[in-house]
Symmetry: D2
């Protein structure tokens, strides 16, 4: 199939490459001409503008927008809606908020265009491993795009099958190839959002565990109760037959094998929005999500030297006990 890829950053560029390798045709556009040129070398049709891309897109055109979430995605989809034709399909493959998807789907439907949202996981490894995709949109349109999704997805590969799926007509075989049609507009990004919420929680669980292991060497503990543990070996052994083996643990094992002190890492941990949206969604549902929330807040806290609240605590302690908190 022919598909216009808009946004050739780390994610969009690699996805376009994987599609080219699978025999699809890519019309490539990015504001960065160098990125377009590089992809043209890999076999893509270069476009110099959205209008140019429109001309080269074929009909109906399939637009895959792969841009940072927020304003830039919004204005791009609006621009496509203006330039596009009835029957065109616009795919938002970025990390957009699912309520924006619902809005975009309605706006495009007014012009008889279709909207599909795709949440993808796999990070920089996707080109090689394939992309795990969670898709929202009209059933018929998602089915029409199946060759695209099948090419981007990891496929069944060597991962053992899950017991209980064979002959089970409540499940969808596409899930085993690495993509699902989650529901109507927004459902793809919603599932991806929760995925990231979970990701934060998992990461924080490992982080806290390694923190306790590391802290066990502290001079403040009684002698005879200290251990100077080899974190690289611990991460490695947990990969092998333990209940907590995971891909995130694999990555931790790699980092710790390189430098068990992780000296090169700042510890100022960013968050990308999905964690926050997951908490908001949970609150709309009145679902308690203590782990997901505390994982997000640990990131907030990591990025400041002190909160003002901590000074309030010091001030109160001085007030009732005359305690003076010493800078450390």
């Amino acid at each position: 199939m022919r598909l216009v890829m808009i946004g050739l950053g780390r994610m969009g560029g690699n996805m376009a490459r994987r599609l080219l390798q699978a025999g699809h045709e890519i019309v490539a556009y990015d504001r960065d001409e160098g990125a377009v040129a590089k992809l043209a070398e890999a076999g893509a049709i270069a476009a110099t503008s959205l209008e140019d891309a429109r001309g080269k897109a074929g009909s109906p055109a399939i637009w895959w927008v792969m841009l940072p979430h927020g304003e830039i995605t919004d204005t791009t989809i609006t621009a496509i809606a203006e330039h596009g034709a009835a029957g065109d399909i616009v795919i938002d493959g970025g990390n957009s908020f699912y309520k924006d998807d619902i809005r975009h789907a309605r706006a495009l439907a007014d012009k008889d265009m279709h909207f599909v949202d795709v949440g993808t996981s796999g990070g920089v490894w996707g080109l090689e491993r394939g992309y795990c995709m969670m898709i929202g949109g009209p059933d018929e349109v998602v089915r029409r795009l199946d060759p695209i999704f099948a090419a981007l997805a990891p496929g069944a590969g060597t991962i053992p099958r899950t017991a209980g799926r064979d002959g089970n007509d409540t499940v969808d075989p596409r899930a085993e190839k690495g993509y699902i049609h989650a529901g109507p507009a927004g459902a793809g990004h919603f599932v991806k959002m929760v995925h990231n919420g979970i990701e934060y929680g998992l990461m924080q669980a490992y982080a806290e565990g390694f923190d306790v292991l590391k802290g066990k060497a502290s001079d403040h503990l009684p002698e005879g109760e200290r251990y100077d543990l080899n974190l690289a070996d611990i991460a490695e052994v947990w990969r092998r037959g333990s209940v907590i083996s995971s891909w995130l643990l694999d990555l931790s094992a790699q980092a710790l094998a390189k430098d068990a002190h992780l000296d090169g890492f700042s510890g100022n941990v960013a968050d990308s929005g999905e964690g926050q949206w997951t908490i908001e969604a949970a609150m709309e549902e009145a679902v308690p999500v203590n782990v997901l929330t505390t994982a997000l807040f640990a990131r907030y806290r990591s990025r400041v030297e002190h909160t003002f609240g901590e000074k309030v605590l010091s001030a109160m302690r001085f007030g009732f006990g005359g305690h003076v908190e010493m800078p450390q």
Copy 2:
């Protein structure tokens, strides 16, 4: 009554003064001779050693130990047990762990001596306001010491009575004067321990709230959604008719009135053990105490620049996404 006060620091010294003012006799001992001399000026009988105190204590002797919890309290109680006589009463008025009380009570009972544990709240304000006391020990002994507790306690004062206490034979009138006999050995310190656990939670609730108020002026928020709020006035107004009025809020209001930026406070917040013991007690009971725990952990976090766990997070993010966390 005559009572030996051992430990004349901020707490012990002031309690001795309050007892003297009420007409009790105090035999005063501290390793710091200056502290003893100062209290002698206030009317106390100076003692130069435990042995000396023993001679001046009368019979049966009443020992009030007011020392930092841990080893020093332990060795002092052991020494008194050696020097003391059957019928003596040893009161631990410090912040000891209640399981240590149970142990002390058993050891003293072997010598026909009595043990009483007293948890006190009121901080540096106790001399003036009186001390709120939570007492553990044998009923008969606690009753015998009543003149001591009545003198130390705030008394009913002007605090409005609680509806539902009049003619209620399930409650104890001593509570309205500011002290209770909570139960057998350890019960006093147990109740005081939970008191401090709650204290941490309350403080953190206010701290977080002020943090949100302060953060509302941040440049990162959309213009038109920022407020530059007067925290001193907010703390003040909440003292007056709001649901969240409290003594801790009074102290916050004072600190914020002096300097709304709290620039003089480090924000490295100490904890004194009771918070941790409360969590341990809750876990023994399988009671979820999320607020009390998170309040304690906020203090731990306040005292370090970064946790190792945060570096683990940065390392994972680099691993799956190529993200580089920038120092800020």
Copy 3:
């Protein structure tokens, strides 16, 4: 001053009464005619409709809207905007979301009308104790309404003054009477929102503490480490000289004095929106609010028999360990 009170429920009715007692004139309107009649008996001018109220309001009219937040407040303010005249003042005294205030203020400004938002605390006790008020809006308009606010507020009363306010020109004397002008439109409700966020945290801190006290009698603990504590007396004694004395503790002491088992209370704890908004505001600011969040989530959890997540945990445990979780 003359003021139209729209909404004569528990809050609006009592505020109208307090204003009447202070000599103000109240035009009273509610969809419930009985409520209007009752207030007329107390001296108010009855209105049968918004239009009717308009006629009786004087000019410029002052409208105090005291309705449940959400749609009903929104449509009422819109209706007043239609019926009102330039120069009119609309006060939203309910629990509205501060971003709605910003929107309302803009819509009314288009008609040269003024908008003021007032967050109030004090609950059912306000009629007697006075209302603690946090006010947002244009400075000149808030000053013009001062007689209203002064009448509703508790006034300085017998609450001790906060050290550091005398001669301090960074603070506002109105705070000591129980109301503040927090900032422009929305600032009043924003401060009230955070107030409620804190309230949830404080309540949960006490709740967890009492839970630990109660649980200490459990049969699961080793004999000799159990205490059967008198919670009514503990709550009472903490009111008297302890660091954690507060109005919420006073209320707890009352409830526990009536029935230490609290058998009449369901424990399905509602939340009113402000807690959630506080978390959202904190996330917009990237401020960690672990205590406020966990307090809100405890309420969510209290309202269901089991979360689905708990079944997921049971399922995983069965998966890796063959563990069967027994219903209890």
Copy 4:
């Protein structure tokens, strides 16, 4: 090698089988004679008592104790110490508290016996997949037991190697085969304890995420913002190329494929001690572990209908607002 296996439950029995399959000799003892008989059929030497086992153990004897942690493990190790001879090795392969290990090691050292602690992960899958082992004890003894550990461990298998281990002399090659020598006595169980702490956190992160997905179908949400998501397919797709793939997710996918409603599971989630010990260890180190703690507390909460604290909240809300919480 010849080894006495004491305790032939699910874990001990399967480990003995795996050792027999690898050519080791097993003297098998359990209070349950049927368990002994079954293992004898699989090739083990049956023992009818500890004394009998002693006679058949060879010299020096190697004792592997595989019993529930606590009293039974304690008395068994004490009994072995009495019956054993200098040079014997006692291995505690259960889930003991690491401070008990330190105590056991000292007691055995007094009789010139050796103590080794082994934390194992892998659950009921270990017989087939091999056991992930974390070992504490004297270096020389752990090396002598290597054939045992190598037979129990999964071995390198097909799991991809971790980059950065080749030629890295700070890491131990045993980790890649699924076992590590973590440090002196107790270090094995300490690492296993933290492993389980992490496990609780990971499980809770998934549980909360699935809860949010499930809740998105709720009638309380605005129409047009609800999704009826297929949780079995979502779990499946996340196994394939996503950042959050893990063995725990594999298990969730299996459970959800069988029944997406998980109706057969009670949701009363047990905990086995290690979660609590991890929190205690973290508090001794002053390391904040919010995720691990909140995961444990979610299990406590899952096992009761209501906490007393929730009734306290209801009582306070009634006190200040007249709110009556309805049973649901």
